[in-house]
Symmetry: C2
Subunit: 274 residues, 2 copies
């Protein structure tokens, strides 16, 4: 999916919501426990309930790997289910991979060759080699970690460099030259919404994937005010706040309500700030 | 496996060789192509051939993920094969994972709960949160990226900070406080062997995982001179230089010879510099 198509989906749905599929097999509602593949069945119910309000799903690989081979099968099945039933929805594998060239190429193949997803999150520590093989895929996206929503982002990301920039700013400055706003996005945490303005000075046209709204405490309005650009430029993720809003057999109904609630707020923000 | 046991294995085998299982399903020798699980069969042959000369195996997850669900099964099967047949051998999952707390905990479970491996490589970009859940596991290890062997290590790892340290030095300084030399190792590339002395000033007692000898051009002797400590403190990895030294049906015989060659050189270096 290219940038224009993503923006079209955002306008059509009046939403820039990304639903994080951090599906914990240990938290499966009782009503799914008899299923052969509860992780997939949970996702399927969440996807069907929230698809009218979301433009993006973001399965978090850790939660599938924790279940080993079976988990990887659930991840793949979930991606294919979205592809088959909601072809206008963007999929991000939240994998935070990052390695040197020949290994990075293997990761790119793992996620892109079978067209499982549109994008993969990548850790920039090892530099350009990490990202380059992913950028070879036309129509696919690298989502590079810049400023994350966790407390220990202060350890390295926020450190000032001798050149006056902070590490995450250097990541933005350098990596924006590797690709373009047509194949690169950045992770910028909503818990640091006031810093989004500074990020926008460096990458005015890139899409930003913004976690940390909801469970982690970030404000959607602050994110929109500081981060929205002329093509929206935001995918705001909510995981636990939607998928685990309710743990009974009504989980999908409650997830739908929570997603709809965010979509309504997003629609208002799009009308006001776009 | 604890540090003392690892050092005992190094002394017993007179080797600090780690064999990288970067097993590319696309490069399977013809003689294995009829097998149900050529990736595992390849590993099994390599492991049986090289186990007398190696103290560590390092499966590189990218090469298994590239083969999807089947690849994950081959990865798990390969780890179990090592566990069952060579219980004195250390296993590192080269996964370069790194995420915030609750996600990082899931990755830790994925690799440690089933006792598949002894250690996982981790990217420190997001700070302490990335590593903390792994350090909760007694007898398990976090192998943190410090200074990698690739050219684009210059992009961020080598950048000078305002405090006078380079980013990788800040990673060493901060992260050595998170755990200890009993549960943390560092990746330091052999292509930067001259910089190992500086690394040793910061982390004199930690084990270092050193890739980049062989195919990437690093010198084993330089690594030993600059990096060895009183408990050896080195695991030197070779992947392609051993496992793809020969691509015929003689691949395991040639891999054995290559591993033995390195073990002999390592034995000399241990006698000289330990």
């Amino acid at each position: 999916m290219n940038k224009e198509q993503l923006f079209e989906a955002i306008k059509a749905k009046q939403s820039f919501l990304c639903v994080g599929l951090d599906t914990d097999i240990n938290m499966t509602p009782d009503c799914l426990k008899g299923s052969d593949d509860p992780q997939f069945e949970f996702n399927k119910a969440i996807i069907d309930a929230t698809a009218p309000y979301a433009v993006c799903y973001k399965p978090n690989l850790a939660f599938y790997e924790e279940n080993g081979v079976k988990g990887w099968a659930s991840f793949e099945k979930s991606c294919r289910y979205i592809r088959d039933n909601y072809p206008d929805i963007f999929i991000i594998a939240d994998a935070k991979r990052g390695d040197i060239g020949n290994t990075s190429m293997m990761y790119a193949r793992a996620f892109f060759d079978a067209n499982l997803v549109d994008a993969v999150t990548l850790a920039p520590y090892m530099g350009r080699d990490t990202v380059a093989p992913f950028l070879e895929y036309k129509g696919k996206w690298s989502v590079i970690l810049a400023l994350t929503s966790n407390a220990s982002a202060a350890d390295f990301e926020m450190q000032p460099l001798a050149n006056g920039k902070r590490v995450f700013e250097e990541v933005l400055e350098r990596s924006k030259e590797w690709g373009s706003d047509e194949n690169t996005m950045y992770v910028v945490g909503a818990t640091k919404a006031s810093m989004l303005k500074g990020v926008r000075d460096i990458v005015p046209n890139h899409f930003l994937l913004v976690p940390g709204v909801g469970a982690q405490g970030g404000s959607l309005k602050e994110v929109a005010i500081n981060g929205m650009n002329a093509q929206c430029g935001l995918l705001v993720n909510s995981s636990r706040g939607i998928i685990y809003a309710d743990k009974s057999d009504q989980f999908a109904v409650v997830a739908e309500a929570k997603a709809k609630e965010m979509q309504i707020e997003m629609s208002e923000l799009l009308n006001k700030y776009l």
